[in-house]
Amino acid sequence: MSIDILMPALSPTMEEGTIAKWLVKEGDTVSSGDVLAEIETDKATMELESINDGKVAKILVPEGTEGVKVNAVIARLVEEGESADAAETKPAPKAEAPAKAEAKPAVKAAAVPKAAPVLQDPEIPAGTEMVEMTVREALRDAMAEEMRRDDKVFLMGEEVGQYQGAYKVSQGLLDEFGDKRVIDTPITEHGFTGLGVGAAMAGLKPIVEFMTFNFAMQAIDHIINSAAKTRYMSGGMISVPIVFRGPNGFASRVAAQHSQCYASWYGHVPGLKVVAPYSAADAKGLLKSAIRDPNPVVFLEQELLYGRKFEVPKLDDYTVPIGKAKVVREGKDVTLISFSYTMLAVLDAAEALAAEGIDAEVIDLRTIRPLDAETLVASVKKTNRAVVVEQGWTAYGVTSEVSSVLMEQAFDWLDAPVLRLGGADVPMPYAASLEKVAVVQPEDVVKAAKTVCYKA
């Protein structure tokens, strides 16, 4: 009886990968636990281990093959002593799990909406060449450019150096800048954040990476009490030029303690600037601005956006100002306001609404604090309706702040109450079926937009 070896999924979002290397050849005897092959995705390399004892009868996908779909049969094992021909006859391994899984579709992660193209920033000179790059690459380039420009800038965090970043954002930086400026820390968030703030007080410009912002809660005292307040408390004597960055918010299937948005937490605090980009161009331009800013900046990224590609202007020094929202799609019927991950759902919703004859304007906040009220109010004066969307909880949230600002500054222009949409008011559940309903979907945005247009 032969056993199929399937292409494994390395993460819930992985659909295909590369077989980088076979470590066994046909005819080899393997036992459970032996490494069969190295599999690569854009994020990581993983070793595929055998879970059975047997002989490698057939390697069906040669090494170097890219785009191998998850669950594709890549090799066959036969039991010791059996001829390799056994692998040819279609096996029906009864008790073996792979057969079972083929019969039942794997649980799908919450649907990730596909987004429409983004309008260009007016600041980009006409005729500028645009290059496609991922958000991950854009962030890395921003740090590298600023580190080349200013030797006071250094990067510190867990696994940022030798490991090349837990999410590969700092890839290559250790090689270029050495371990004086790319520093692997112990798992001591409260300690290294305080240390970073102290270094900033003394004139350096640290970039502190949190493996995810969930772990910054260990360090939030230093972010707020030490970083945000010191300039004020010292009567302007001491500034804290520091960037706190890392993935924030929803990440697929990692449950309550690893999937939470902190935009409103930091947005609440005077003395902090808070940035949360969506596109690669904004990620690059805003991170460069954040590193140069003389204030503490909380820079919220998103794991689920790291691998997305966008056009980025090819300019020697591309910066995007902190504090400016961006109209990414013009429209006249309703304003949809969001930032970061939920821009995907909002842009999809705008397309769907267009198909139904509702012309939505879409605004990406990009900066959470200071909030660009001017751009929001100008849009609402035109459309007279607004839906505000965030991935976090709406209670005391960014959406609540935006709604208040619109009520205070655009009350006379509103034809309907502003609606807020956000993640379900519960800790993030693990189960796929629950997670899907806990996260804002494009349909939810469409429904809310129709409601404020009185077309529901």
Binding site: L6, P8, A9, L10, S11, P12, S32, G33, T41, A44, T45, M46, E47, L48, E49, I51, V70, N71, A95, A97, P98, K100, A101, A106, V107, A109, E158, E159, Q162, Y163, Q164, A166, D184, T185, P186, I187, T188, H190, G191, N214, F215, Q218, S252, R253, V254, A255, A256, Q257, H258, A424, D425, V426, P427, P429, Y430, A431, A432, S433, L434, V437
Partner: protein, 342 residues
Amino acid sequence: MTTRKPATKARQRAARASAPPPYKAKPKELLEFYREMLLIRRFEERAGQMYGMGLIGGFCHLYIGQEAVITGVRAAMKDGDSLITAYRDHGHILAVGTSPNAVMAELTGRSGGVSKGKGGSMHMFDVKANFYGGHGIVGAQIPLGAGIAFAHKYKGDGGVSVTFFGEGAANQGQVYEAFNMAELWGLPVVFIIENNQYAMGTSAERASSETHFYKRGTSFRIPGYEVDGMDVLAVRAAAEDAIGFVRDGNGPIILEMKTYRYRGHSMSDPAKYRSRDEVQKMRADRDPIDHLGEMLVATGAASEDDLKAVDREIKDIVSDAADFAQDSPEPDAAELFTEVYA
């Protein structure tokens, strides 16, 4: 809280300076240890496989290689003692006797899971078995473990809290806040550091100025020693010693279990921070299950056939768990809003 622990001198005499000799197990116990470790090993292998098939999502940290630690410690615990650990928790929950079906169904996020699919791999709980999780924030379970010990002492129920954490977690500041209070108040807690030598891709040497983690309590006057965590009998003896010390009202103690994880940190792991040879050598020379199997046969405590029978029994248990975890329905959408508040 009043401190009713004996004077420091007496306590220092009571605490050992190094690990006791290995536990002298009866043949029946040996076979039970073998069975327990094999259950964890095969369960984890199947979980890894199911992850690869997309049936398990998110982070999934396998315990393969470290089975002797929880098996030996659990065997020395009494009913009424408590246990808490981090996200690498599948072995711990299986060891307290929770149904493998419910554990696997939690991994697949189904309603038959221990937490109805709401917690997943990192957040296993079984409060009936005094198992308090399953915690995803590195270091957080350590003060919680001290708090459970506080409750045991407060209630006077004679229970001991056994609090597990990794050598990477040992660098978190809250560990030392917990150590200080635990000693100051004489809390009945055994701190077990599972030193598997790596925290994700960072070796203990690259992150720790003192890599003898059992010494980490020294400045709080907490005794500790190192234990061979790849030998279930060494673990069993040390755990009995440490739990006894704590139960006698001597306050906390630290056991550093030298162990090794064979698999990646979680499912996606670049595997570039250690050599394949290093892993292979550990597996070949130090595997806790192989080692015990050989010992069982060599001493005549069990025959090859006996071990094969255990193998078959475990295979069936794990297959049933895998089937159950795929057949159990996904939680109903209405479950989303339940259990937020008591």
